[in-house]
Amino acid sequence: MTMIPFLIGIPAVFALIFPFVRDQKARGVIVYTGAGVIMLTTVVFTARWIADGSQVMMLYPETETVDHLMSVGDIALMCLIIYMGAKYRRIVPILLSVAQTALLLYTEFTTEVAAGPHMVVDWFTILMFIIIAFIGGFICIYTVGYMKGYHSHHKDVQDRQPFFFSMLFLFLAAMFGLVLSQNMIWMYFFWEITSVISFLMIGYTRSEEAVNNSFCALWMNLLGGLGFAVAIAWMAKVSGTVQLQDVVSAGAMLPLMCLALAGLTKSAQLPFSTWLLGAMVAPTPSSALLHSATMVKAGVYLLLRISPAFSGNLVGIIVSSIGGFTFIMASMMAIAQNDGKKVLAFSTISNLGLIVGCAGIGAEETVWAAVFLMIFHSVSKSMLFQSVGATENTLGSRDIEDMHGLIIRVPKLAYIMGIGIAGMYLAPFGMLISKWVALKAFVDSGNFVLVLCIAYGSASTMFYWTKWLAKLLCYHIPRETVKDVTRKDEYVSMIFHAATMLLLCLLLPLVAVWVVNPIVQELFGNAKDVISMSVLTTMAIMLVSIFIVPAAMFFISRRSHRELVPIYMNGINEGDNRFFTNSFGEKEHLYLSNWYLRFEFGRRHLRIPSLIIAAAALVLGFCIVIGGAV
């Protein structure tokens, strides 16, 4: 396919343009064009691939020149890390970076590896393309409007928008490359690019906190990169191949464990979840991108690719246990947060934990559920981050407490946020269907611990989403009116996401049959039909519960005549539900707060123990694997 270089090249070229465009309007136009072109190429590519019979394509067996260019690129990345590390006096990233680059180059130049395809196009790649192009593209469009609002709020932050947009587009390019790669050396190159770009994006504001957090993200991801490099070196020395699919077919434990480490760091699983929480200091679009279309999805993408090899061995047990443990601990810690973005971050970690848990089992059903979770998580998380970002620009705060009655103050944002939240956990929506399948698959695979994790974890998940949703929908008379400063392009992006979410729910059985089943088929060679109900029944239930019941009830309840009265306050209501007369006979303002269970579920109590347990599991796994391998 001649189009593949363009898929990676187009975003990269756009990234190169931004440093030279200083005019805000022109930049906006270029971003819109860029996002549009990326989506268009993806659609054309997908359409042509399907028209050609949607066969798995192995590409580029001979790529001497590009290989050398990539080595140069690896060295350049290392130099950049050394420079940044020296500038801010951080030694760990430098050591990690030098170690892995040296190991990789040594392997590349001393070991002969069997020739093989460097890139592969199959259903999984296509799905990732669509997620990256559309979710990522719309996030870029959203960013144009968001950054205007951001810089009018944060006057102290230096305006480095050209740099920011370059990074966004470069990220998309790297992701395209990553999901295409079959050769691990190529994949490693793109993997490192995503690590470095996320480091640069997190440090956007250059405040002390931002610098600290960005280096935290860097060293953790470089640790994963080191794992990746070790896996490559081992495979090249022992098996004489650097193909990802050979890792699966060979099934050697050490490279699997090392790749699992890479996947776990990138998808921010315990004990590495700190970096994703710290990533919030950056402007919201970068969080939206890191959490939904890119970065963390790269981690689970890798794990899902190699998941058939996890089936029934020690590495699989370690990976799935860490995933399940992360699912439950992160969802508990989310309860105690009142910062909207923190809740979203914990929920990302927790949902990825479920996906990782599924990947670690490595059975058809679990991978089916994992792919489904990934699709739904991308859409709703991107939408939630965008709406929280827009709310922050409008209200000047992203505290969930300040979103009390958002439905009255900024109804449009509240609706979008509500759909996003509902998509994350309510019954007819996809996340829940995937949880259902995952639970069944965990039982089938006989994994008792994961069954417990999902049972408790979904309960705590329900708690933190419900209280947020209830806060949004609380009716009250606002103290002061707020002006919605959300720009049109931001709404375009958010409405696209909301519409996608609803459509995905409605068309859920079709998505399952057309997209998810082929992916499972390609990974395992055979596919079961996982949803037990018939397609039409499922669709009917979805339709009824999402659209028909609320709509019908709306019309029924509207017909009734009623008299509106003030609420009961256990003191005389002063008339407008905001003040009551207290026991001193004075007028007192009513303030309602959510319930955070801080002393029971706070990060303070749960963070350290969970880090220790997860790290212990990981170290134990490594010890056993290395002991077995040597």
Partner: protein, 287 residues
Amino acid sequence: MKPVIFVLAYLILAPFVGALLDGIDRIVSARMQRRKGPSLMQPFYDLGKLFSKEMIAVNNVQLLLNLSYLVILMIAGSMLFAGADLLMVLFILSTADMFLIMAASSDSSPFANMGASREMLQMMAYEPLTLLVAVGFYLTTGSFQVSDFLTRDYSAVIWMPGLLFGFMFTTAIKFRKSPFDLSTSHHAHQEMVKGITTEMSGTTLAIMNIAEYYEMILLLGIFFLFFVNSTWWSWIVAFVVCALIFFMETLWDNVSARVKWKTLLYSCWVVTLVAGGVNILILMLIK
């Protein structure tokens, strides 16, 4: 044909049976307290009175949300009685509860909001066990389909006594029985006033009550599944045991006082882990 009859019977009879059970519950409770208690038909009179009242509301969405609560509960119950997937039934059940919580917190009422928060906590407390019950049925009968549970040669309870105990323990939450009646109570003079129902009145409250009856029958239906098997007499046994369980919930209601939320959450989670978790573990090892 059979599922259609079951579903219709559920949709038509559940509120009546539920109200009758409520009436029996009140009489039995009264006798335990050495009172005479109201007449058996009192819940019907109450409902009639609520419907006859003038419509007074704190906002325009509460009725809508309560109606959605009712309808989605009816859907969940119908799926159970039609023999559909038990997990799906449980998931839809919690979605229905979500509408009740939204209805309670749809206004900035302090007591209704407190009730709603407590209701969320209660959901968090009972949710793990309900999922484990579904898993237990799956391990015992090899299917999540309720219709398949009825065709086995043995009753599920033989394999899942721990889960039955756990379910009885946590169902006190759903039946809104003491010691777990944190989110609302039958008496408005307590610390939470009326909790989630504080701001509901007239038709809105009546709808909520009817929905609770539907839910009660749904839960008793799940208890029923523990005992029923392919023989005809197991149905009678199941009916009797369900009545017994209902009586025990009433008894427990009368002999215990409301607990604090921590006790509720931790006790439910520990019972889930010990009774439910161990039961599931044994099932997984044997099956």
